[in-house]
Amino acid sequence: MKTKLISAGILFALVLGGAYALDGQIVSVSGKVEAQNLNGAWIPLKAGDTLIAGTMISTGFKSEATVKLGASVLTIKPLTRMTLTQLLEKEDTVDTELYLEVGNVKAEVNSLNNKKNGFTVRSPVATASVRGTVFEMGEELVILQGAVVFTSPVGQKRTGSAGQELKITNDSVSSPVAALQNQMETIILSSTPSTEVKSAILATSITAKMTSTPAVSASTPVLLPTNATLALTID
């Protein structure tokens, strides 16, 4: 009796708050795409299957799935494991939240019933939250349309716009130019511990020198200040 009363109370509160759980729907599947059921077993997914909040989805090599979440469309790329943690329609907003354990997803966030979208993708290293946009998130965030707020584990935020890419470096969100510099994949000549950039400021700043601290060169073991205030007289 007590349990029934509590359940009714929760239902009443949800109705008063105007919150309704939505289901996601698989639109298309290619390759090996599976979802974990309540017993922990992995079952293959097919077009038309329904997804509820809490479902974990996994894609295999060269496999992909397209999922409709409200009016938004999520493409789950190959070798990805993610969980749909929340899909809720409220009075003014539609809140969608995913936990991306590993891999890459592309989200096209659209408005449902003219309501605002709260679309959040969390990963072990960062959080991306958007309102009406298209973006891809894996190890780095690629913004294809609109604006995305990218948040580091410490809570530092950076808003990126269409065409920009953001990345977490040393637990901070790097500037878009630092991410582009990183994408150049310039060959690193020396990778000993002394060349490691440990400061979040130097690793993420556009103003910091783009090269790591150079190792001492024996060819110029001594550089003398040619424009020093005092002329050097050295025998």
Binding site: P153, V154, G155, Q156, K157, R158, A162, G163, Q164, D171, S172, V173, S175, P176, V177, L180, Q181, Q183, M184, E185, T186, I187, L189, S190, S191, T192, P193, S194, T195, K198, S199, A200, I201, L202, T204, S205, I206, T207, A208, K209, T213, P214, A215, V216, S217, A218, S219, T220, P221, V222, L223, L224, P225, T226, N227, A228, T229, L230, T233, I234
Partner: protein
């Protein structure tokens, strides 16, 4: 006495036992370079460096570790007939991140560590000291301080005064570096105003030679304040504006004191037009000596060019470059720099000084073997053309 010895022995045994628990990592890097230079007269140069490094993690998450790196150097610099050689401890760094939670992260390094300022125009060397790093939701703060007097003089790089220069060219391969304390604080606020990133920095160095010897000729203490703004102009185009003000005092053993005021301003544009392509342009200005300004003196000595031997004092430098990485295993880079004096000097009329053109290629032959080809041509205002070309091979074991 016996009890103390037993405690020390137990501590050593315990520390040794911890090492194999969390797999120590190590490596060996061999770097060999050979080249030719003609800067007035033709000469050969060679450069060899063997580096051995080890890291010891103290826990499974590797949030605390010890890194040690040492090198043997041997080189025949251009224009020299004698081989220069020395051994050095490049790094002895204990690192830890004791706090890493939502809203706050604190990490630090202690020991012999590399330090750099946010611009790279002031400080870029190693010190014996520590760096504290704090991350908050609003941004990052770095503190560091250290001493340079225990570094090998041949690699100390903190060469500011005549006395430092004399120590640095000493024949003694175990000569110590300049006796100087260095401090730095940097605050970075990403997107502080709209899309503009803000960096504020204070750096200073204080010469302790005055406390170690009475035979010094010159002592210089300096402090630097820097403000930097940066952000996107377009999706693939970014700017940065940096201004550094230098103030300081020069003490001469026989001629009293003088002020050391100067500034360095830099503007830079970076453009990434297509994948693997980066174009950049930069302009640097520091004033010529006059009644108020002396010369810009960085803590870490550096030249403004490759073959161009001048520093950043009394300089206007316009530079541009193109980095082209067509594939992951092959990189190309080209650059040009025009050096002008901000004001006429006693030895040179006019402001134009020299033009330098550089080109380079990096090849990753295997995951452990890389080659770097460098070439520079300098066209000085009143001297003959100079050039340098070299090939370096780096092997990791």
């Amino acid at each position: 006495m016996k009890k103390r010895l037993r405690l020390i022995t137990q501590a050593i045994v315990l520390a040794s036992a911890m090492i194999p628990l969390f797999s120590a990592d190590w490596g060996l890097e061999l770097s060999n370079e050979g080249g030719i230079q003609d800067a007035g007269e033709f000469s050969l140069m060679t450069d060899h460096k063997e580096t051995f490094w080890m890291t010891f993690p103290f826990n499974r998450k590797n949030t605390a570790n010890l890194a040690i790196e040492g090198s043997l150097y041997a080189s025949l610099p251009a224009g020299s007939e004698d081989l220069t050689y020395f051994a050095d401890l490049d790094l002895f760094r204990f690192s830890a991140a004791p706090v890493n939670k939502q809203g706050f992260k604190f990490s630090f390094d202690a020991g012999r560590i590399p330090v750099s300022d946010a611009t790279g125009f002031i400080l870029n060397q190693k010190i014996d000291g520590m760096e504290l790093r704090f991350s908050f939701p609003f941004g990052n703060i770095d503190f560091s301080s250290g001493y340079t007097g225990l570094l090998n003089a041949r690699s100390s790089k903190s060469v500011i005064t005549a006395d430092d220069g004399i120590d640095a060219v000493s024949d003694d391969i175990y000569a110590f570096g300049s006796k100087r304390v260095i401090g730095k604080v940097i605050i970075q606020i990403p997107q502080a105003i709209g899309n503009i990133d803000f960096v504020a920095e204070g750096v200073g160095q204080y010469d302790l030679r005055r406390y170690f010897t009475s035979s010094w000729q010159e002592i210089i203490d300096t402090a630097y304040g820097t403000i930097s703004l940066s952000g996107p102009m377009m999706n693939k185009m970014y700017y940065s504006l940096t201004g550094t003000y230098q103030t300081g005092i020069q003490e001469l053993a026989d001629d009293g004191q003088a002020s050391e005021n100067s500034l360095l301003a830099a503007a830079r544009l970076d453009l990434f037009p297509a994948k693997g392509n980066q174009l950049f342009a930069q302009f640097i200005y520091s004033p010529a000596p006059n009644d108020f300004f002396s010369g810009y003196i960085p803590i870490t000595v550096q030249t403004a060019g490759n073959l161009f031997a001048g520093g950043y004092a009394n300089l206007m430098r316009a530079s541009a470059g193109w980095n082209f990485n067509p594939v992951k295993s092959f990189n190309l880079d080209f650059g040009g720099k025009v050096f002008m004096n901000s004001g006429e000097t006693a030895t040179q009329s006019g402001t134009y000084n020299a033009t330098e053109i550089t080109g380079g290629a990096t090849i990753k032959a295997t995951s452990d073997l890389r080659f770097r080809f460098d070439s520079s041509v300098l066209l000085p205002n009143s001297q003959d053309l100079q050039y340098e070309t070299s090939l370096k091979a780096i092997l990791e074991l």
